[in-house]
Symmetry: C2
Subunit: 531 residues, 2 copies
């Protein structure tokens, strides 16, 4: 027996926190509190319970839950058992949920009782699923489904001394599905090695402190809540899991548990600001991702004391690619700082981000050469599950193609201009829909905005703005156009950027994860031009 | 062409600092300043120069230098070329230096002109060495050696656009020799993967800040200066390389460059305190390792404003194993804090430290069960070069055996009691020589101390203290014995711990890296007992 060949597997992330932070807390809503000591014991029990359910190395265990302490336990115990954790996006359509579970060939489902009716309805379609476990806050197990066990009862019967095995670090640990706006959801997947390196790289480069208190505000089914449950656990931080996102509960937990660190999409931030007009939000560090951080929203959050800044990544990138941490010289408290807070930031540690021209050649990092953002890191999906064509496109030339258009400047800051399919090509120029939205959202009477390109015989495409006015606000089409025209007159924008039409809508089309669904809007508003 | 299989190789550590911190500085003494931009270009030139010297993948390049910017360049460019960097311990005896260079089969030597006479003398013995390059501060190349080039001239002729290749992360990157007190020096070795993981794990768990300024005070030939040149570079920190350690230069650089972070053995700290009695040393964070941090020394450093604390590791462990970072509740400013600052601290991140009994079974983490300290981490040497027997002993049972005796408490703190060969076994009890030394050093009249066990027919061994009195101090044997006896009377120590003799010496025997050479002292003072 020679040197121990230390594999980078998820269980190794627990060595330090379980021994050194045994009294630290993991909290579920205002309902439950566990110490890391208890957490460690519950992981062992869960590992043993999975074994007794017949889960073997390489099997897939799907989880359908809100953001709970149970989910955190599954983040660890499922892959530590050698099984693959499928984090099911419970916001997908029923058809898509069935598709993803079957496509992943899930062997078992751990399902929150709240989704029992859904599960009962689709159970006959899930022919590969052999075991179903009920997750419940109150112990009430709905009778509509034939369960193979209830989570807490299984844990109670499990072995608290269960030992998780070593295995190859390239073993698959997790899978989940990303929904484009076309076709079926696509499965991405991550190995133990990738998740451990995502964690180490994140902790190495981000300013986590031992006294941080973490609460996710991006669902755990969405790219491992951006990896932060692994980060927070490895650092032994106090963690707060808020269950289903309800603004008043989120704000209450922030206050009572003194949360210092969260992350979310812009919509959630908007929701929180609106839900807590009188609450002191100072001390909350918030990374915004998933969509661009609108300048007006950032300003509103900063005014409330939130230390808000953007990050960038996607389901395929682990997700953490860049983050807008500002060095001292950019913290001027003014417009420059605001600009940088809203941009994507800089690549994190081992992440190698570049910009490629349409010919595939690398473009200079000069702040204006615009091309596709590509990346390499030790934590990117190796492809889409059972989809070699899409995988080959994703990894064309050995670089992961994000499908986003952007620039890099000489200090390494990435500026994401648009999704390549959302950029508006008009009269030979590229107009960033995100850029226009950011300007329009500066109008205090407008709460939401989407700029889309619609087909135009003469110019190829022309921009149209779809806006949602705030209740009682009197915003006009001319006023919105004038905002853009003013910027065009300073030379900041092309004069082709002024939208042909501004459509006032009650709400905007969104995808299952809350992003603007511009594909749907292009269909919906494509005819406006002709009107 | 599919997904890029991202290898953990040293060049990946440079992605972020070279792009994001291009204007940050690397400083050599009061002589030279480079930006990271220049550093990146010099690495490319060095890589190209190594190629033109005929260095190929798998070759070994030995470096003999003080702590210079050139050494930092070799830390990167040599392994990035696929070659193995041998960091030669220039404090070894000439015979040992020759032995280590030949044992490592070095193909080339990069040697500081200051060691030209030594090199000239032993050149005929270094039959495997094909190329010798001169490193010089002032451009003067000594004629005593037939050089194959001068470092700066080679760089000037090198290609600033040289691209370093990808290769397997398990490629060997570095090797160096550790001197026990018996036999020939033993070669340890590290792969790219190990060094990258040592860096990520260190950065993830230690409180580095972007505004830190780093200066090594542990030679770069000694376990990669504890890995910190890799840490500091990966984080894009300002770095200061002090050349040959001269107390007045070190203090001057601390002041002028506003150094915030260093690491050294206790002797260097003593030297600095003595050299700068009037300098404000606040703002200097100092990790002490290599030997135990004496309580009296820690107290003296704290009184001068240095944030001093211990770390623990060895040549075989990468080296970072534990570090005495204190959580808030241990920072009482008093005796408890002092105790914890002087202990080994807690394992860092992925490092798994345990205590084994003489039967090889794991002992409880209760703060008093005493046994051998063993470890696993992703950054431990896989063995000793070409020494299968010693390698098998090192890795007996799949754990790296440190040869140190210690305890772990329930909060994860490691207490290193002694080297297993230095612990004094008397009358069936184990006495920690380090513990006795720490008490004796509390005497203000004593500057250095070593406690050794000498053979005793009746008790097996008996402790003897060898002490160096401060100039002009009047310390007596009885006084020293009384200090120990007082602790024995409180029950803190065994009454067998009171040394039979206290020997006053002019100086203590030390090894090439400045540690107490107790083996030599046991021979030297073994007869005292009989006297």
């Amino acid at each position: 027996m020679g040197a121990y060949e230390y594999p980078l597997i998820i269980k190794q992330l627990l060595i330090t926190p379980l021994r050194q932070c045994a009294d630290q807390e993991i909290i579920y809503r205002d309902q439950k509190r566990f110490t890391y000591r208890q957490f460690g014991e519950r992981l062992a029990r869960l590992g043993s319970a999975l074994q007794s359910l017949g889960i073997r190395h390489g099997d897939t265990v799907a989880v359908m839950d809100w953001d709970t302490h149970r989910y955190l336990e599954c983040f660890f115990a499922v892959p530590m058992s050698g099984a693959v954790l499928q984090t099911v996006n419970i916001r997908l359509s029923v058809e898509q949920i069935v598709y993803t579970i079957n496509h992943a060939r899930a062997d078992a489902i751990l399902c929150n009782a709240e989704f029992a009716a859904l599960l009962a309805a689709v159970r006959p379609l899930l022919s590969g699923v052999k075991k179903i476990v009920c997750l419940t806050d109150d112990g009430v197990v709905p009778s509509s489904v034939t369960w193979d066990g209830e989570y807490e009862a299984l844990l109670a019967a499990g072995d608290p001394a269960h030992v998780f095995p070593d295995f190859d670090e390239n073993t698959r640990a997790t899978t989940f599905y990303t929904t484009g706006t076309t076709g079926n959801p696509k499965g991405v997947y991550y190995t133990h090695r990738q998740l451990v390196l995502h964690t180490l790289n994140g902790l190495a480069m981000l300013p986590f402190s031992d006294t941080d208190v973490y609460m996710p505000l991006t669902p755990m089914f969405h790219v491992h809540a951006w990896g932060n449950p692994y980060n927070a656990t490895a650092r032994g931080l106090k963690q707060v899991y808020p269950g289903r996102y309800q603004p008043e509960i989120l704000v209450k937990l922030f206050v009572t548990e003194r949360v210092t660190f969260s992350h979310c999409v812009p919509t959630i931030l908007q929701m929180i600001l609106a839900a807590a007009p009188d609450v002191d939000l100072r001390g909350w560090r918030l990374i915004i991702g998933g969509s661009a951080l609108p300048r007006a929203l950032a300003q509103a959050a900063l005014a409330r004391g939130i230390d808000v800044f953007a990050g960038y990544g996607m389901s395929e990138t682990g997700p953490m690619a860049t983050i807008a941490l500002l060095p001292q010289h950019l913290r001027d408290g003014g417009e420059t700082e605001l600009t940088y807070r809203c941009r994507a930031g800089r690549p994190v540690g081992l992440v190698d981000v570049r910009i490629l021209g349409t010919d595939g050649a690398e473009l200079p990092h000069d702040g204006h050469s615009t091309g596709e953002i590509v990346a390499r890191s030790p934590a990117l999906t190796a492809g889409y599950a059972k989809n070699p064509d899409a995988s080959a496109t994703l990894w064309k030339g050995g670089w992961l193609h994000t499908g986003d258009i952007g620039t890099l400047d000489r200090d390494g800051y990435l500026h994401v201009l648009d999704r390549s399919k959302d950029v508006i090509k008009t009269g030979g120029e590229w107009i960033s829909s995100l850029g226009l939205e950011d300007i329009i959202l500066g109008n205090p009477g407008i709460s939401e905005c989407a700029v889309i390109g619609v087909e135009d015989a003469r110019w190829g495409e022309r921009p149209i703005a779809v806006v949602v006015a705030k209740p009682g606000a009197a915003v006009t089409e001319d006023e919105v156009k004038a905002m853009i025209r003013a910027r065009a007159e300073t030379g900041e924008l092309s004069r082709y950027a002024v939208p042909d039409h501004v459509v006032f809508a009650e709400s905007l089309e969104k995808t299952s994860v809350g992003k603007l669904d511009k594909k749907k809007m292009r269909v919906l508003y494509g005819a406006v031009k002709a009107a």
